[in-house]
Structure formats: structure tokens, C-alpha cells
Symmetry: C2
Subunit: 695 residues, 2 copies
């Protein structure tokens, strides 16, 4: 049963509404909402409706212990009515619908990010590791209880000493042929598993990542690298740690306190041989290791690649949070009044201030861009995981795309929530208005599931590899043909990297066309050119590293680390811009498309303005042309201001999702009451005379 | 009694310490610490020592109710042993030492920002309003109980409908000559007092800001504008609201939950005539209003000006929080290792990564700049409030300086704490490591005591006023002479605005000297030139507003609001840079001065790099010269990296102030243990062979 409350916001502008003042073009909110629902409109709406149910809402003021219990109870509800098995095999009650699962999952942000991340731990990480890294035997043995939540489980990968560098973890799993068991062991404090949801309190098992070690008869022990093992950790009745297992609660965090993050250590804990999740590596009874992937490096990255859905979903959750924040701040900014200089009686609505527009509207544009890019990422994810397009190349593309977009959107969400909170003043600081809590919960998104900086570096390295692959030994004509061939048959969202290269063929002199900043082609040229030039320059600068000793090579690389990360950022922005541009085609209402094109322009020009120094230093824009970037942004802000409310209304939230008193219409009621009071006082002739007029 | 724990950080570099590798120049930490203690070294140290006492420390995991009680208890302790009366008159046990009071106050950040802000509410706002806005009669009647905390009090200025726009508040205080009482009244919901510390729970009285209304016999009522009234609000025994008074708790906030913020409303509440704090306006028994300041506008700003100490102290507290955050992140970054490419056995220390340096060291430089600027602000504040230099001009200068620096430092603190938290990864997200809690508590600093954006606009307007005053009708020679005259007798920190103008006289062609980026004169020219040019251009653009109707004038002003705020930011950065430059003179140890000069250069060039587009667009730097800005920053980062630990150690914190396990040396112990384990394994020959070497 879902409970929804009617929306107090008027979707259709009434006479006198500022949205009608500027021009006759208007947003068709229902149509735009539908476009924003993306590839899974029904699933998203159903999940969003479920999240309007107050049983799933975060309750302010609970103690962390109460919050944890509430979230566990919510997981129990979702295990029954939440369609959380959707991505799993049909024989376990699922639909093998990976994209659909994530589209629903991303909607959980609106109820409580703690709920979302704990769902992610249980079904997205713990059960998914069993599913993706295990084989049928593992599935039969472990999956039913993981899916039903009979076994709440931790995903024990990260160690206190190693976060994003999984390859360097210290936990070992040594095979003992005498008993046909693996011995799971933590050799030192830094190898404690850490920050694991479900480890602090509720988990009774864990998928433990450890270096698999075998000892061939008469030979030296061999380290086969990181593998995952199913390890029971607590007695399900007493909830005491099992013998040899220990750990501790991570305690309070900066947010997400509905999750029982904790630490685990293992002192020679024995599990049966068959507890190895053995899809990518197995050990026979006699201790012989085998794997379908001969290269240990490729095997490692293949195993880790199955975890990409975490990054994909964080990208989506970040977009959701940014949308909520902007809906709250823009709704309030359209009702709240402060200061008056134009009129002696009427104060100015906050969003009429140019600075308020400058702070919020570019973030709105970026949120639109991030949302469209996310839908493309989600489609690419589903293409790979459904098997429709599952090749090493498409997997690598997907991983790069997720590694580019997750940092962009998670940083964007934090920035947006902070600006939104400040734009709402003291009211924004109250927990009841959601902004500070969402920001606190989302904070860790920037460093978990892959530290943003580390991910961007991976993207940068991939850009370098693509660059060297594409251009090695080819002349310009061949490059152009190669690029054209690749581009013609690749769906847009599948090959953002290659697409970036495509436009090389038709780049003329960007300076000539820079005056046409609103032209799609001009924006594309400027954005593409920046990525390509940066990558080419870094590749050139790194050339000496190829023949250098490891230490020197590392030093050369380090000297260009910042530029490489900047290039990866530029690439992510380009991907977002391309997704936005492609999405415009899906908007059929002409007025809506016009306004959304302005939003796209605002996004593109904001990115260009942020990097204007680069364009000037590299001769891509003259000083005169560069100045028009800012003045055109100013014009766009004025054009979009009347549509700001429609553009957030199109996100499609009800009060049951926003749950922020300042966005409920209460501020409008207060403003109306105050203005009516003064109007009546003036009309009655009783208004006190200001002293300055009296004297 | 204070409890301090020994510092595990080794201040003097040992052999092999990276600090010794780069060059022989080193930081004299003790000397630099002394310089950083500023104008009140003994008071600061004494307060800092007191804050090492665990009785004052924030305890993680308390419920908001427990936290509020703990903080109230801490205030009671401070009322006795905390020297919190220092700024008050000697006849009430104080020393009239305003700067000293604030220097001590700023140290409270290190124990708990909730404690600090509640102290600010009681002594800095409630008692200070009685003191600064009242006369002897008010002092005798109300000050003793406010100072002793017998009466916890709220400072009831802000209303739900009006934050930074105090002039527009709706609460009225109407004089009734029949009973010689003021009738305090809240006319509508938006006029409820809101966000008031002590209003939610503990306060038994409030200084209520209301429009003073008198009704001369036979005439119309006159509104004399905003005045402050002492109003009892709760029964001190039952803690029930007094008749006619109501309110509610603001509930949970994004931080500072040790403070009982709340709302108050008044329904025809009567207080004696003598409860008007009557220093700047009084009402005789018969209802005749009088004031020492005839202009209502000037009177209003004079009253509000007494509140500048709140902004000054937030500037200092923000610097303290940024220092704590950087000490934690840089200490951890010097111990934590992650990834290895240069060596097969040793992972790289985080701070050796170029990107880690790029993220943290410019923030360190800005923190130094903000700290030195704050000391100058504190001196200016003490000059005015001690009466040594209390003129309308010096007050206006002080207010402008505070309005410029408070936004700069509070935004800087939030940014720094966030980057520090991300630089510490998952560990940074744990509450025990302080970063998220400090950030949450400091968040509201950007909008309370004057919204940062509103303050910057005030600064911008002042810059415009100064510009028009100085140049109106003068030729260039006269301008130069005027500026020289003004500058010669004004202490540096007293007239940052005029100083900015001074250098006009010696600005040649900046492009010629831009190559010498490390020259003080070059940096100054670039920074000053930007402020002046921006202000001049805005002044020019606003000229048509002078002859326009109010609505048109407001529209013209609004069109340039963003630029005006940018100009104010540029001014704040210039002030910080000038303070830093002046502070270098106080560093007598040559090595320390050299390193600190690099830090100053890093600050100056980071500001210039951030605004490089402006310098390029305005022809101040050629593309070639502009490129050297970034490369010189890179060189500075490499130079400063070995001294990063010394530069945070010089902030002078003990573990009792940091209280972050990751900055306690625990990470170094873990790293050493792990490396010793692997070293022993390699030495024993037992290390498993990686599979790739085995095959």
C-alpha cells in the first residue's frame, strides 16, 4: 500500500505566473517528466510510488541503533514486496533484468539513502557477488538465503589498509588439501576488512575477498590473486561472532547511520573448498588451481568488473539527490522574498536576483545533463549484463563510462545540495528540510565504490590507450576512415570514447564558428577539441616514460597526474553534453524542446566558461569570442528563469518524496499573510509613519 | 585542570625524513607557531589548553537532548573558569578587553563548535546586546544575571520571514504611555523570531528586536525603526513560557545540535518602559522619542554595527576548523600508502602523489592567508571597540573588512574540510576522525551572522562608494596625492580598502613584469589591478541607474550583481594576500621565512590561476606568461611538499585538540606492521610466488 499526498505546486501556470511573462514558449511538464523517466518509466514510477510510502521514510531524530533497526525492517519489507530479486536468475524468482533492477534501486534515494545503500549491500553486493562470481553450486547453496534476507551478508572486500587498491589486499585464503578447506586469515591490522555494511551488527555471513594460495605438492606456495569466498561470520541465533572471527563496529559516520558498517578479521577460519565462488577460478580437491581466464591480471579485472553496477547505481542516486535538492531550493526561491529596492512595498522573490539564478540554474542544467548521461550509462550497463552486447570491449567501455560519470555526478550532487542549502538560508540548515541530511548521506559517494580521483585516473589512462591505439602508425586519412567506420555502427552510449574521436574529421577552425555559441556543432567542437588536445599533449609528455626505469616512469607519470585527471573530467563533461544533446531528439513538444535546448546550451557554455582559460591559452577562442560566453550565459539565465519551476516540477516529485516544509507551499502562505497584513494596514490608514517621513 | 596528551608527531625531522630530502631550508616550528598565535599568544594558549580538557569535548553519539544538556553544563563551567566576561565592563568583573575575549573565544572551536556558538549566543550576543545597546540602567538591571548565566538568554533578531534583512522585521513594540510599558507583538507567522539559540529550551529571557512605535498625542503613530528590548520569556522555575509568549523548538539541524535553537512569538506582551535598551534611542514617560543619532538610517546601522564581533569571531573559528582539518589530512597523507608503480614492494605515501598535493597544499596556503588576515581583522576590531580608534570611518572600515573576510574564510573552511575528508577516504567519513562533524557544524557559518552573499554585496557597494568618492572631480595627480596622504598614516590593517587604491600610483605595464611571478610587487599589481578594474567597470556600467526610476535602477543593479560579488571576493583575496605578505616580516628565522614566502606565493598564484581568464581577457597577462602561472605553482608544490607536515605542526595542536585516530600515528603503526610482515615473509623465502611468475 502506498500513501501519496497531493502536490501543492501548481503545474499549469496561472495568469500572472512569472512563467508566462517572458515569452509564449512553455514547458510541457507531463511530457518532459516522461522523457526524464528514461528507459524504464513504469519500473521507476512504481518504485517511486513505493518510496512515497512512509514505512520507508527516514525518520529524523532516531538514534543510530533505532535507525539501523528501522532500515533492517525496511529491507525485510522490500525482500517481500520490493522486487529486489529482479536482476537475479529466474530459477531464484528473478527476471535477469539488470537495468530494471537498477532503475528501481535508484529510486530508493528518495526514501532514505541508508535504506538504499543497505539494499545495495545485501542484493547489489553480497548476493550479486555470489551470483556473478559463483557458479551453479554456489548459487544453489548460498543464493536463496541471501535473496530472502534469511542471511544478511557483508561484502568484505575493502581493508583498513586498502580501499580502491583491491589488488593489494592482505587477507589470505590458503587451501589445505588434507581437509579440503580454505583457511581464511588476516595477517596484520591493516588487513582487517573495514567499512562493510552488515558487518557491524546484522550480518551472519560475508563474501570475503582474499588472496587464494595453493601449495602444489613439493613446490612453493602460489598466490593466485584475489578471489571471493563465502564465509559465515555470526551465529544466526546468538548473533555472536563464530570462532576465529572478530570485528568491531565502525561507529558513527558523517551520514548513512542507518547502516551498520563494521570491521572483520579472521584468525585461521576454515571454510569448505566449495565456499570458493568459483566462476573465474577453482581449486580441485587435490589443490590444483584452474581458471577459464589464464592471465591473472585479466582475471582480476574481470572479477572486479562485475561490480560496475555499484558505480552505475551511485551515478543514478546522485542525480536523484541533486534533483530533490534543486526542487526544494528553486520552489523556495520562487516563494521567498527578501529586500526591496525597486518597490517600497513588495520585496523581491529570491529567484529574481541575478546571483540566485547564477548559483542555481547552471546546477539545474548540469543535473539535467547528468540525468540524461545516466540513462545512457544504464542502457549500456543493461546491454552488457543482459548479454545482448557482452564483449571484452563493451565491458571495458562500460567500466570507463561508469568511472567517468560516477565522479562527475557524485561531486555535482554534493555541490548542488550545498548551494541549495545555502540558497535556503537558515531554513536550509534545518534537518526537516532534507538538504543537510541528503548531503551528509551522499558525501561518501565520492570515495566509496572507487575513489573519484582514482576512477578519473583510470579514465585518463583509458583515454591515453585509445589515443595511442588509434593513431599509432596511421596517417590522417586512415585515422578519419577508421573513426568513421567505428562510429557508424556503434550506438551512441556504447562508445563515448570513440565518438569523441569521430569529430576530428570535421573540425575546422573553431575560432571561426565560436560566435555561434548556441550552435550544437560549435559546442561539440569546443568540448571535443579540449579532450583530444589534452590527451594528445599528455601522451606526448609521457613518451619518455616508455623507456625509463620504473621509478623514473612513475615520476614522469606523477608529474602529469593532475592534467590526466583534468582530461578525464573534461571527457566526462563531454559525455554528459552528448547525452543531453541526444536526449533533445526525444523531446517532441516544440516549446519544451526549445527550452530544454537553452538548458543544454547553459550546460555546455558553463563547462566552456569554467575552462575558458584553456580555450584562451590554446588559441581556441579569441578574447572577444570568450567574452561572449559569459554574456550569452547571462542571456540564457534570464530566458530560463521563468521556466525554473517547470523544469524542477518535471522531475516529477510529490510532497511524499520532497518532505521539506519549505517546499510545501508553507512559505507562500507566510508571504501572502505578511503582505496582506501590510496591505490592510495601509488601506486602513493606521500604518505607523516611518520616522524619516515624520521629521 | 587540563588534561593534555603527548603529541606522537615528531616535530624535529629525523634522518630519512622526507622533509630533509628536498633542500636544507627548514621550518622552525616553534617560531612559526609563535607567529601564528598572533596578537594574543598567552590568551590563545591558555584557552587552547583549557579546550584540551575533556570536560569541554564533544562526545560523539549523544542524543541531541544529552548534547544540549552537556553544552549548557559546559557554559556553566565557563561562566566560572572560562574568562568569558573579559570584554565586559570592569564593574561587572570584566576587563573591557574585546580583542582578547574574541581570541579566547575562537579557541572553543577545538572542543565543540556547539559549545562555541552557544557561548557566542549568551555572552557575544545576548549579554553584548545589553551592554552595547543599553545604558547604565540596563546594565545594572540585566547584565549581572546574563554574565553569570543565571539568565540564559536568546538574541531574538532574525525572523522566519527575514534573516539578513533586519530592517524589514515585522515584530512591533508599541509604547503605551498609560502604563509606561512597551507592548511586544508578533503580527503574523513570518514575524516569529527563528533560529535563536537558547530559545528552544534553556532561555528565560531574550533581547527582542522590534520596530519601536510611539503615538504622539493627537498625531499618527510613528515607526522609529528597529530597537532592542529585554523581554523575559520563561518562568525560571517551571521553564514554561510566560503568558503571551509562545514558540517551538527548531528541531534537528545539519550540525550544532548541542544548541537549542528555537522560535518565539509574542502576543501583546507588556514590558516596562525601561526594558528598552536605550543607548541609541529612548522613550520618555510621556511617549516622546529621542535619540543621539538623528538619522534613522545611520542609527539603525550603528546599532547593527555593534554586532560585528560575531562576524569577526566566525572568521577566526573558520580558520581554526580549516587548520584542524588540514592537520588531520596532511598527517594521514604522510603516513598512509596506496598503490605502487615505482617499486614492487613499497606503496606510495599519499602525499607524494601530485594530485594529493594539488588538492591539499593550496588549501594549506589559503588557510595561512586567512589566518594572518584574521589576526589583522582582530586587531582592527580591538582598535575600534577599545576606543583607541573609534570613528565612524574606522567602524565602517572594520565592518567592511569583516564582511569581506567572513565569507572568504567560512566558504574556505567548508571546502577544506570536504577535501580533507575525501583525501582521507572512508576513514575520513567516520565521525571519530572529526572531519564530517566539523564540516556539518561549520556549514551554517556561511549563512548566519549575515549571509555570505549578502555580505559580499555590501562589500561591493562599499568598494563602489570608495571609488566614486575618491575619483569624483579629481585629476590623476590629485588622486595620487590623496591616496598617498591617506596611506601614510593609516595602519595597514585599518584601511584595506584605501590601501588597495594606493598602488595605482606605481602600476606600470603589468605584462612586462608578469614573468617575475614570485615577486611580491608583481603579485600585488595583479591582485590590486583586478579589484580596481572590476570596480571601475561596474561603476561605469551602473552610471545609468543614477538617473533611472527605482525599478529600472534596481534592474540595472541586478544585471551587475554577480560581477559586484566577484569584485568583493577579489577584494577579500587581496586583503588576505596583503596580510600574509605583511606577516612575512614577523618571521625572523630565514629558513622559515623562505618557506613561508613560498606558501604566500602559492596562495597568490592560486588566486591568480583561478582568475586567469580575467587576466587573459583583460590583457593583463599574455598567454605565454599565463602558462607560467601553473608551472610555477607546480614547482611550488614540489618545494613545499617536504615541509607540509611542519607547516601543519606549526598550528600547534596536541592530540587533545585533534582527537582523530587517523592523525594519532595509528596509521603509521599499521603501515609499519604490514611492511614488516611482508619483509619478513620475503626474507624467510616463504612468500607465495605470484601466479604470473609461476606459469
Amino acid at each position: 500500500m502506498t500513501t501519496t499526498t497531493p502536490r501543492p505546486l501548481v503545474d499549469a501556470p496561472q495568469a500572472g505566473d512569472p512563467r508566462l511573462d517572458a515569452d509564449v514558449t512553455n514547458v510541457d511538464i507531463a511530457h518532459l517528466s516522461q522523457v526524464l523517466l528514461g528507459h524504464y518509466p513504469e519500473l521507476r514510477l512504481a518504485a517511486r510510488n513505493l518510496m512515497a510510502d512512509e514505512r520507508f521514510h527516514q525518520v529524523d531524530g532516531l538514534s543510530p541503533a533505532e535507525h539501523r533497526e528501522r532500515v533492517l525492517g525496511q529491507l525485510r519489507l522490500l525482500a517481500v514486496e520490493g522486487d529486489v530479486h529482479r536482476s537475479f536468475p529466474t530459477r531464484f524468482g528473478g527476471l535477469e533484468d539488470h537495468g530494471g533492477f537498477l532503475s528501481r534501486y535508484e529510486e530508493l534515494t528518495h526514501a532514505d539513502p541508508s535504506l538504499q545503500i543497505k539494499v545495495g549491500v545485501q542484493w547489489g553486493l553480497f548476493a550479486s557477488a555470489i551470483y556473478h562470481l559463483g557458479t551453479e553450486g554456489n548459487h544453489d547453496e548460498f543464493l536463496p538465503d541471501a535473496l530472502s534476507l534469511a542471511v544478511p551478508g557483508a561484502f568484505a572486500m575493502t581493508e583498513t589498509g586498502h580501499g580502491s587498491d583491491v589488488a593489494a589486499i592482505g587477507t589470505t585464503a590458503t587451501y589445505d588439501p588434507a581437509t579440503q578447506e580454505f583457511v581464511i586469515h588476516t595477517p596484520f591490522r591493516a588487513a582487517w576488512k573495514d567499512y562493510l555494511g552488515n558487518a557491524g551488527l546484522h550480518g551472519t555471513a560475508a563474501t570475503v575477498f582474499a588472496r587464494l594460495i595453493t601449495s602444489p605438492p613439493g613446490g612453493r606456495a602460489v598466490d593466485h590473486g584475489v578471489h571471493a569466498f563465502y564465509v559465515p561470520i555470526r551465529d544466526a541465533v546468538t548473533m555472536e561472532f563464530l570462532p576465529g572471527v572478530g570485528g568491531e563496529d565502525d561507529g558513527l559516520k558523517g551520514g548513512l547511520n542507518g547502516i551498520d558498517n563494521g570491521r572483520l578479521w579472521f584468525d585461521q577460519v576454515r571454510v569448505p573448498r566449495t565456499n570458493l565462488l568459483n566462476r573465474y577460478g577453482d581449486v580441485a580437491e587435490d589443490g590444483t588451481y584452474s581458471s577459464p581466464i589464464p592471465s591473472p591480471g585479466r582475471r582480476f579485472f574481470t572479477m572486479l568488473g562485475t561490480l560496475v553496477q555499484g558505480r552505475v547505481s551511485l551515478d543514478g542516486a546522485a542525480v536523484s539527490a541533486a534533483r530533490v535538492g534543486l526542487t526544494i531550493a528553486i520552489t523556495y526561491g520562487n516563494q521567498r522574498r527578501q529586500f526591496s529596492s525597486a518597490s517600497p512595498t513588495d520585496e523581491v522573490v529570491l529567484l529574481d536576483y541575478a546571483e540566485h539564478q547564477r548559483r542555481l540554474l547552471p546546477l539545474l542544467a548540469e543535473t539535467y545533463a547528468a540525468g540524461f548521461a545516466h540513462e545512457d550509462l544504464l542502457a549500456a550497463f543493461d546491454d552488457v549484463f543482459s548479454g545482448r552486447n557482452d564483449t571484452p570491449d563493451s565491458r571495458a567501455d562500460l567500466e570507463t563510462l561508469a568511472a567517468a560519470l560516477k565522479p562527475a555526478s557524485t561531486w555535482h550532487a554534493l555541490n548542488t545540495l550545498q548551494v541549495a542549502r545555502e540558497a535556503c538560508g537558515g531554513a536550509g540548515y534545518l534537518t526537516e528540510n532534507r538538504l543537510t541530511g541528503l548531503r551528509a548521506d551522499l558525501d561518501v559517494f565520492t570515495t566509496f565504490e572507487g575513489d573519484n580521483t582514482v576512477l578519473l585516473q583510470l579514465v585518463g589512462k583509458r583515454l591515453l590507450t585509445d589515443y595511442s591505439k588509434t593513431f599509432k602508425g596511421l596517417d590522417a586519412t586512415k585515422v578519419a576512415r577508421l573513426v568513421a567506420e567505428r562510429a557508424s555502427d556503434a550506438a551512441r552510449y556504447r562508445t563515448p570514447l570513440h565518438r569523441a574521436i569521430q569529430t576530428i574529421a570535421d573540425v575546422g577552425d573553431p575560432r571561426r564558428s565560436a560566435g555561434q555559441l548556441r550552435e550544437t556543432a560549435t559546442q561539440r567542437e569546443l568540448l571535443v577539441d579540449r579532450v583530444e588536445t589534452m590527451v594528445a599533449e599528455i601522451a606526448q609528455a609521457l613518451r619518455p616514460a616508455q623507456k625509463a626505469d620504473p621509478a623514473t616512469a612513475a615520476a614522469i607519470f606523477n608529474a602529469h597526474q593532475h592534467e590526466l585527471i583534468e582530461a578525464a573530467r573534461a571527457h566526462a563533461e563531454l559525455v554528459q553534453w552528448e547525452s543531453f544533446t541526444a536526449a533533445l531528439e526525444r523531446v517532441t513538444d516544440p516549446g519544451t524542446r526549445q527550452i530544454l535546448t537553452w538548458v543544454r546550451d547553459l550546460f555546455g557554455l558553463t563547462v566552456i566558461e569554467r575552462n575558458l582559460t584553456w580555450y584562451l591559452l590554446n588559441g581556441r577562442l579569441s578574447a572577444g569570442r570568450a567574452r561572449t560566453v559569459t554574456s550569452y550565459i547571462d542571456r540564457l539565465l534570464a530566458r530560463l528563469r521563468p521556466h525554473a519551476q517547470s523544469l524542477v516540477d518535471a522531475f516529477g516529485y510529490e510532497q511524499a518524496h520532497l518532505r521539506a516544509p519549505i517546499a510545501s507551499g508553507a512559505e507562500q502562505v507566510r508571504q501572502d499573510e505578511a503582505r496582506a497584513y501590510y496591505r490592510a494596514q495601509r488601506a486602513s490608514g493606521d500604518a505607523p509613519v516611518p520616522e524619516k517621513y515624520k521629521r
